[in-house]
Symmetry: C2
Subunit: 329 residues, 2 copies
């Protein structure tokens, strides 16, 4: 492959453009408040429930925005994505909306519901071994073979701008409620959601402190932020937060994260499960483990929220029943 | 007590007034769509998820609207309500918002989470025996004693108008999506939600066919509709749909229901549990059994929806973890 200039960083106007493309196609998820959750935490909490997004996670936003940017002539060659599951479903569903063929490269140990749903959207699913094969290499080889457009999971300006509509909506919806979040907590894998959200908030809620939240053993973003350079996770770590297992921040996402984030937080798998039970009880929301880590960080007191208004992004709800029953047990 | 003239029926302008009172206090719940649920049912389905309402059910709408109508001079005497649980929480939370004392009369066998949450909102809870005592008599006696305002669960114009904001929002939000529901399915206990929703839709979506949905053994509304007069349920029936165990339609609610409904449907407890599992999987929503009966009627094919757009109201999510785990098993 020829050397390419790096993609340009997205800016707030790209997020506005994405919001216009998504209007009427993506769900404008509400900004929820539960009085008893406020009592539990001791401050005002606003929850952005992206499990209510089409395909059960925020990933539909970026996928739809990115696919809408594919030139007409390239659309018949299809799209390819590699994903642990939520990006897979987002791309498969958005591709179907556009009438475009999708091939999705997924790890063989992804949650059953994610693989099955991706197939249900009409995508061709290719499974690979997470521990022996390189998904990016597989995806890129398939793309080179077929001419299909590779829809990256996070390190792409169109993806970041699409996910950034979450931040735009938080700013708009909080204003409708007469509130200004002081702290915003966002789940983080490769960083597409948190970088886009932070970019939007830098423009529309500039005084808010934005934090990424990662599972223990996969805190590459927190450590990279502290070090000022992109670091990798040590191999061999495991977590039930299957959506958040990226090994290092993306180039573009880290450029935004290092500019706009206040810091990176970390929670344990047990804390994520506890947060799923809290979301069940107080918010009536089904969260997957990775989707609950931002709420988990709040509940575990990872950041001082006294006297502050806190917004929490819950990023997805594609969880197998057995895991959810475990969280409730 | 002196004889009183019956309360007047609410009209659509009362629902607009309620919507204005609720703005910024109640959640404007989204109108959700899940492509895989559409595939499952074979038509376009729009879901109004009232478990995301404050207190976990639509009941907050009516309670807040009704309490806002209490004259200033009466507010210090407090409010009283009798309820199996969701109205209890709605009244307790709305009363707290207004700084008014609330006493709630609840059946001793109500789900634990409903009793505990009602207490958490600061209400004084009085338990009674559902099979031996008359909750209405207890509530009225307490009201007479203290001068507190009795906030009825459904047969009150202010309550019906508040619940009717669900119908108003369905009409508005469907229009935003460029859609016109042909069929609207609504859970039904005493009929406050379905009568208010049907009243709103008679004005704002007049071609929609509205159906009530009840659990087997508690189909008083369906039978009353067919008979043209208010009938009672046979004693001794049982259902896990604890929110929907009213024995007969209200006077006001039945006057509206008999004018505006197309018919009444019925589902079994098993069908309600299955619908809870479908809401978990496709919508990422936590539903209680009674909150899932409208979706259950759709899934069980109780009404012919071929080629139609269907809106389904899910009314609440206050369910104990053990019951929810049962639905997922």
């Amino acid at each position: 492959m020829s050397h390419q200039a790096p993609d340009p960083l997205p800016n707030p106007s790209d997020i506005i453009a994405a919001a216009n493309r998504l209007a009427g196609h993506a769900v404008r998820t509400p900004l929820l408040n539960a009085p008893l959750l406020d009592d539990l935490v001791g401050t005002r909490v606003l929850v952005k429930p992206e499990m209510l997004q089409r395909t059960g996670s925020f990933k539909f936003r970026g996928a739809y925005n990115r696919i809408s940017m594919i030139p007409e002539a390239d659309r018949e060659k299809g799209v390819i994505a590699f994903s642990s599951g939520n990006h897979a479903q987002g791309v498969a569903c958005a591709a179907r909306d556009f009438g475009i063929r999708a091939t999705i490269v997924m790890p063989a140990d992804a949650p059953h519901i994610k693989v099955e749903n991706t197939r249900s959207y009409g995508a061709d699913v290719r499974l690979y071994d997470r521990y022996r094969e390189n998904r990016q290499a597989i995806g890129e080889a398939l793309a080179a073979e077929t001419g299909a457009t590779l829809v990256k999971p996070y390190d792409d300006p169109g993806i970041i701008a699409g996910q950034g509509t979450v931040g735009l909506e938080i700013a708009e919806q909080a204003a409708e409620l007469g509130m200004k979040p002081d702290i915003v907590l966002v789940c983080c894998g490769g960083g597409g959601l948190v970088s886009g959200t932070a970019l939007a908030l830098s423009e529309y809620l500039p005084h808010a402190d934005v934090y990424s939240v990662e599972p223990a053993g996969f805190d590459d973003t927190a450590r990279s932020l502290a070090a000022g350079e992109r670091l990798e996770n040590a191999p061999g770590a495991a977590s039930i937060c299957d959506a958040l297992l990226a090994s290092t921040p993306g180039e573009l996402t880290f450029a935004l994260i290092s500019r706009f984030l206040k810091g990176g937080l970390m929670v344990t798998d047990t804390e994520a499960l506890d947060a799923m039970a809290v979301a069940f009880r107080y918010l009536k929301l089904v969260s997957e483990p990775g989707g609950a880590v931002a709420l988990a960080a709040l509940l575990a007191g990872r950041v001082d929220v006294r006297g502050k208004t806190v917004a929490v992004v819950m990023s997805g709800g594609n969880v197998d029943p057995a895991r959810f029953r475990e969280a409730l047990a």
